[in-house]
Amino acid sequence: MKRYSSALVMAAYLIFLLVPIYWLLNMSLKTNAEITSTFSLWPQNFTLRNYEVILTDPSWYMGYVNSIIYVVLNTVISITVALPAAYAFSRYSFMGDKHLFFWLLTNRMAPPAVFALPFFQLYSSVGLFDTHIAVALAHCLFNVPLAVWILEGFMRGVPKEIDETAYIDGYSFPRFFIRIFMPLIASGIGVAAFFCFMFSWVELLLSRTLTAVDAKPIAAIMTRTVSASGMDWGVLAAAGVLTILPGALVIWFVRNYIAKGFALGRV
C-alpha cells in the first residue's frame, strides 16, 4: 500500500512537471488553426512547418546564434576571471578577504532590473550597445561571484601541500596551476561553467535591454512575436522547444559533475 502511494505521488509530481513541456511540444507540432480551434491531446494534423519557419528565417535562428555567442563568451570570461580569484580566496589570507568574499555574493542579491538602466547608459556611451560582448560582460556581474564561490569550495578541498610539493619539484606557478591544479578541480570548473551557462541562457531582462538587432537573443525575439496578423502560436511553441534544447544538452553532458559538485563543493 505504502509503495503504491509513494509511486502515485511521484507520478503526480512528474506529470505536474512535464505537462507544460509536453503541451509546448504538442503545440509546436500543430497548425495554428488546430491550436486555436480544438482541444486535442496530440496533433491531429502533424506538421513540421513551425520548425521550418524558425530554421529558415534569419530573424528567428539568428536569435539562437546570438544567445549562444554571448552565453559562451560569458562562461569563458567568468571562469577565466573566477579561477585566479577563487585561488586567492582559498589560499591566501589578506586584509578584508572575508568581507570581500561576502560582498561578491551580495552582487547576486540585487535583481537585474536594478542594473538595466546604468548598464544601458554606460554601454551606449562607449559604443558597446547591441553587441554580444556587452551582454556577456553584463552577465558577469552575476556569474563571476557565483563562479568564484563554487570554485573556492572545490579549491579549498585540495591540500595546500600539493601546491608546495609542486613548487619544490620545480613547477612555476602558471605551470602548476594549469598542469596540476586545474585537473584536480576539473569537476568544480564544470559545475561553475554549467551554472554560468544556465544563468546567462535564461536571463532575459539585461540581454533584451542591451540589444536591438545584431545581438538580439532568442528569448527577446520570442516575446516580440505578436505581429499584425495576430499570434503565431505554433512557431512560438517551436521556438520554446528549441530554447529548452541547449540547456537540456548541457545538463546531459555535465550531469555526473553536477552530482559530484553538489556532494563536494558548496553549490
Binding site: 600539493i162 608546495e164 613548487y167 619544490i168 613547477y171 605551470r175 584536480l184
Partner: protein
C-alpha cells in the same frame, strides 16, 4: 654540500614560532628533529626548504646565501606527513615530473624513474594512479618523487605518522637504506624518540620553537643537556623527583638515601632534581644499592610483553615500563626500585648537573 642556518628566527603575527637557531648540517648526514607536536619541527623545515622566509637570520647552502631564493631554485625535496602526490598523474608520471621540469632527456628520465621505483618497490604500480594505492605505497611514491631528482637536501616531515603500525615499521627500516643510497642531507622530523634512535645520525631536540640540544643521537639520548631535552627524548617522558645532596649523600624524594658516588661525588651540596627513564624503574630490588620508593598504582596499561605502570609518588606522576604482564590493582601501594646508576641530576635551572652513571661507562655504540 652543507646547509647552514645562522640565527634564523621566524615569527608570525607577533608570535614567535622559531627562536634564534643556528645549525650546520653536513653532506651525507641523517638529522632528526625530535619534538612534540607544535615544537616547531615543521616550521624549521619550511625555513630550511625555503617555503617560508625567516624573519631574521640567514640560510646558507654550500656557503652561498639562499635566504630569499625561490623554493623552485633551491634544489630541495620534501615529503609531508599526508601522502601528497599528484592525483591526476600515474605513479610513473608522478616520479618523472621533477625530472621533466628539469628538462632531462627522456631516456634518462625513464632510467631514473625505474631505478627509484625499484628501490622503493613501486615497479608493479607504475601504471596506477596514487589514490589506487595503499597508504604505504602512496608515501613510497612521494618518497620516490623526492629522491628521483637527486636533491642535496631531503626533508621528511613525520613521513610515517599517518601510516598504520605495520606499514610504518616496514618503511622505517627502508629509510636508512634509502638514505645510504642517496648521499644527501636528510632531515627527518618525528615526535617519537624511538624513531630517532632507530635512524641514528644526529638529533636536534625541539621544544617550543627552540633547539634545546643537538648532537649524535645516542649521546643526546644518554646525556641530555637539560630537563626539557630529557623529557622530549624519552617515551614515556622522563620521571622526576626532588633530590638533595648533603654530606656526600644523595637523598631522593622522601628520604631514600645512597652515597653520592661517581659523577655525583663532585657536586656541591644543595637541591637538585633527579630524573630517570621509565624503563629503569623495577618491581624488584635489581642491585645491591638500589633505592626503593613506595608508589601508588594509578593505572596499568598492558601491551603484552611489557606493562606500563602509571604511579604516584610524593605528588609526582611517574611511569614505569616493566617486563611481562603485571596485574596490579589501581590504588595498591607497591615498591619501585631504581639503580642509582640510572639517575640523572639536574640543577635548579634544569641544566644537567651530572649524567647517570651508566651513560658514562657504557660507550655509545
Amino acid at each position: 654540500m652543507t646547509l647552514e642556518l645562522q640565527d634564523v628566527t621566524r615569527s608570525v603575527n607577533g608570535r614567535v614560532q622559531i627562536h634564534p637557531t643556528s645549525l650546520v648540517l653536513e653532506r651525507g648526514t641523517m638529522n632528526v628533529l625530535l619534538g612534540p607536536t607544535l615544537a616547531g619541527k615543521t616550521s624549521l623545515m619550511r625555513l630550511m626548504a625555503g617555503l617560508d622566509q625567516p624573519s631574521a637570520g640567514r640560510v646558507l647552502w654550500n656557503g652561498a646565501d639562499v635566504t630569499g631564493q625561490r623554493v623552485q631554485d633551491r634544489g630541495v625535496a620534501m615529503v609531508y606527513q599526508q601522502f601528497i602526490n599528484y592525483p591526476g598523474l600515474t605513479v610513473y608520471d608522478n616520479i618523472a615530473s621533477p625530472l621533466r621540469i628539469l628538462k632531462r632527456p627522456a631516456a634518462e628520465v625513464d632510467r631514473a624513474v625505474r631505478e627509484t621505483a625499484e628501490m622503493l618497490r613501486l615497479t608493479p604500480m607504475l601504471g596506477r594512479k596514487p589514490l589506487e594505492l595503499s597508504g604505504g605505497q602512496q608515501q613510497r611514491c612521494a618518497l620516490a618523487r623526492a629522491l628521483v631528482k637527486g636533491a642535496g637536501l631531503v626533508l621528511l616531515d613525520e613521513p610515517l605518522a599517518n601510516l598504520d603500525y605495520k606499514l610504518r615499521e616496514e618503511l622505517r627500516v627502508e629509510i636508512p637504506r634509502i638514505f645510504e643510497a642517496s648521499g644527501a642531507i636528510f632531515v627527518y622530523a618525528t615526535t617519537e624518540p624511538e624513531e630517532a634512535l632507530l635512524l641514528g645520525g644526529q638529533t636536534a631536540t625541539l621544544w617550543e620553537g627552540r633547539v634545546t640540544q643537538i648532537g649524535p643521537t645516542t649521546q643526546v639520548y644518554r646525556q641530555p643537556s637539560d630537563m626539557v631535552t630529557a623529557r622530549v627524548f624519552s617515551d614515556p617522558p622522563m620521571n622526576f623527583a626532588s633530590a638533595r645532596i648533603a654530606q656526600g649523600q644523595l637523598i631522593l624524594g622522601d628520604g631514600a638515601t645512597t652515597a653520592a658516588q661517581g659523577a655525583f661525588s663532585g657536586l656541591q651540596d644543595g637541591e637538585y632534581t633527579a630524573g630517570f627513564r621509565a624503563n629503569h624503574l623495577n618491581l624488584s630490588k635489581v642491585s645491591e644499592n638500589a633505592l626503593g620508593f613506595p608508589c601508588k598504582v594509578l593505572v596499568t596499561e598492558i601491551t603484552g610483553s611489557e606493562t606500563y605502570l602509571h604511579l604516584s609518588y610524593a605528588g609526582q606522576r611517574w611511569v614505569a615500563l616493566v617486563h611481562g604482564v603485571q596485574q596490579l590493582a589501581a590504588g595498591a601501594t607497591i615498591s619501585i626500585w631504581i639503580d642509582p646508576r640510572h639517575i640523572y641530576l639536574f640543577d635548579g635551572s634544569g641544566t644537567l648537573a651530572a649524567p647517570a652513571g651508566y651513560a658514562l661507562t657504557e660507550k655509545a655504540a
